[in-house]
């Protein structure tokens, strides 16, 4: 009998403790809330900048911010993974669970506008733009990329160029070759290299977006900026003969790539060019950051760069931006951070290390290397085209489907199936 009584007592105690545990945790979170109103919530900066150059750039930016606002505690919540593939998954679950980070990295264009803005998860930043006098400091085409229905939703920190053909200077010099300007020249150069036993084109599509990146460059080169843009608004069908021509060119290019492409990521593929095992590489200009920061190569000595064939005067723009999610506890602190991010000082602290160019047109060119200076010049004059592989041109769901189709195409090389899949996925775009 006594045993039974003590068991009941234990149960009662257990329940009591559980209840008191709950209530005490409630009160402690209340305390935290009150405390934070005085000391300020942590400013959580969410990105996928964990690679060498990009992490340095982010840290320089955070350091600059903390010099200005030493009271605000900053948390660098970066998630590793190429092109943000893992970070985007983490972000999606946090946003769905109403636990947004204070501010997060998002590509300007459809990824922002058709994604988070359309879902009603972002605060407009028009007042910040007016207060900081940014309306004429960023190119109009760029502000349009981060706007929807007349409201501006994020602040661009950098510009990457997607249509760059990187080449190994030594291999080209030894074989008396000039970097190709057209697809025809590309195939001539590639044939000569192949004859010498050198892999003409490096590809690392372990993560399929790298192959999509190559494909979108061929699309841009074949269709031209206007028609390329029309693909993403549904004005131009994927059944158009020009698209077929681009797919055929893409297919032909795949005959010149390294055999182990599917086991390499983009850095591993860049390494082939650095080591002289492959001659050319189509990739965005984060490759420059990797070559210079990680592999200690010299611009225009070890490696050279030209626009991807047929895309001279065109600029495949990839911009990283940061916005203000709805429901964060410290919007004023976030705006302070965004103000630093959008300032000349902030952009010049971040971009030289990251290997990108500033999104502002009035940044200081002397802080950038040879490549940066030229790209800043090109950015002012070139036609801007949004990148598909990096989420600017079309919503994430469509990009995922294109990546799948490209992944299959790289092996099967079936032009008709590929175009049919793209065309059927494109029916979602018109919504």
């Amino acid at each position: 009998m006594r045993k039974k009584a003590s068991a009941w007592l234990a149960l009662a105690l257990g329940i009591g403790m559980a209840l008191s545990g709950c209530s005490s945790s409630n009160s402690s979170s209340d305390n935290a809330k009150q405390g934070s109103q005085k000391a300020g919530e942590k400013l959580e900066i969410f990105s996928w900048w964990t690679g060498a150059g990009e992490e340095d750039g982010l840290k320089a930016l955070i350091k600059l911010f903390q010099e200005k606002y030493p009271d605000i505690e900053v948390e660098n919540a970066a998630v590793a993974g190429g092109a943000g593939t893992n970070a985007k998954a983490v972000l999606a679950s946090r946003m769905q669970g109403n636990d947004p980070p204070s501010t997060f990295q998002v590509h300007g264009g459809a990824e922002l506008n058709e994604g988070w803005v359309a879902a009603g998860k972002m605060e407009p930043l028009n007042d910040l733009y007016e207060k900081e006098g940014w309306m004429d400091k960023f190119p109009k085409a760029l502000i349009d990329m981060v706007s929807k229905d007349g409201n501006i939703y994020s602040v661009p920190v950098n510009i990457h160029r997607g249509n760059v053909l990187w080449y190994n200077k030594k291999l080209f010099a030894d074989n008396g070759l000039q970097p190709p300007k057209t697809f025809d020249e590309f195939f001539q150069v590639a044939d000569k290299l192949k004859a010498k036993g050198i892999t003409p084109l490096a590809l690392g599509d372990k993560e399929p977006w790298a192959a999509t990146h190559l494909f979108e460059n061929v699309l841009l080169g074949t269709l031209g900026t206007e028609n390329y843009k029309k693909l993403w608004t549904g004005e131009l069908s994927f059944n158009d003969p020009q698209v077929k021509q681009a797919v055929e060119t893409f297919k032909k290019m795949l005959n010149y790539i390294n055999e182990d492409h599917s086991s390499r990521n983009w850095q591993d593929a860049a390494q082939l060019v650095a080591e002289g095992k492959a001659a050319m590489y189509v990739m965005g200009d984060w490759v420059k950051g990797y070559f210079v920061n990680d592999l200690k190569l010299k611009v225009n000595e070890d490696f050279g760069y030209v626009p991807v064939p047929n895309t001279e005067g065109k600029f495949m723009v990839i911009t990283d931006t940061f916005g203000l999610p709805k429901g964060v506890k410290n919007p004023d602190d976030v705006k302070k951070f965004l103000a630093v991010l959008g300032s000349v000082e902030g952009q010049d602290a971040f971009n030289p290390l990251k290997g990108s160019i500033p999104a502002r047109i009035d940044a200081d060119p002397s802080k950038y290397d040879e490549y940066g200076k030229q790209t800043m010049q090109d950015f002012k004059t070139a036609e801007l085209a949004p990148s598909l592989a990096h989420g600017s041109a079309a919503p994430e769901g469509f990009v995922t489907k294109v990546n799948q189709a490209v992944n299959i195409f790289v092996t099967q090389k079936d032009v008709k199936t590929f175009i049919d899949t793209l065309a059927s996925a494109a029916t979602e775009l018109k919504k």
């Binding site: 988070w116 359309a118 879902a119 182990d260 994430e396 990009v399 995922t400 299959i408 790289v410 092996t411």
Partner: protein, 323 residues
Amino acid sequence: MEKVNITPAEKTAAVPAVRKKRKWTADHWLAAAFLAPSVILIFLFVYGFIAWTGYVSLSNWNSLVPDWSFAGLKNYWYLFHDFRFQADLRNTLVFTVLFIAAVIVLGQLLAILLDQNLRGESLFRNIFFFPMALSFVVTGVVWQWLFNPSTGVNLFLKPLGLDSKWYTDTTILGGFHWGKIEFGIPVAIIAVVVAAVWQMTGFAVAMYLAGLRAIPDEVREAARMDGATEFQLYWKIILPLLRPITVSVIIIMAHISLKIFDLIYAMTGPGANFVTDVPGVYMFETTFRGNYYANGAAIAIVMLLSVAIFIVPYLISSRKGGS
């Protein structure tokens, strides 16, 4: 001859409980009170979320904005017409069969060898069991490096004239078309199977070793008296006695292989032409990258059903065995 009981579960259940309708005593109420919180939590967080996933899979929620309108079986229809998902089903089937067969054969073999009263047995037990202590992610990263076409084991194989592509090989052996896919054994899957077998064989060894130890010596002696050779002894007597363990191993390995994600994600990803893709990876990418929540939920439900095909008959049969 009486069937020899060797699995622990059967041993404990050996005394049949007499079922009678009784009034609930204070003891029963107390037991129920202690169990209630975990029962409630499990119903909420396991079965509740399964139901929730099932509900999502029937909705139109295929963007960042939730859309609860009823879609019927549209998401499932899409899946089974999708090249990638058909390839996933083929890969899962091939992976499961090869993986389980290899684990059972290797597990039995190693356990029998270990059972020969050799010196330093505990050392070998640890060596075989050690990979179990690693996570699949670690295994995946290590084997990815070992099988990389330009590093690892290939550095030794190349001078011998073997140029293996391992997990980047897109060849599919067997090749006949079924639906949109080429049905057969994708060569790249074999590399993944090797890594998975390396990790899980230790578990099977431990199970079989325990089983071998539970077989009374009298059985072996009796067989030897009747003039059985050692081979006959194992083939005709010991291995049949180990059958309940084999069933357990199959159940455990099947549920691992049907919902495998981390090993493949770390080692190969979907692979070129989806030769190493599995539903787990597809579910992750669909849901969290493509924001196709309803499609992702449908994949999750198909995975649940595929595991249930193995588990439910086992649960039913073990319940019968117990009562």
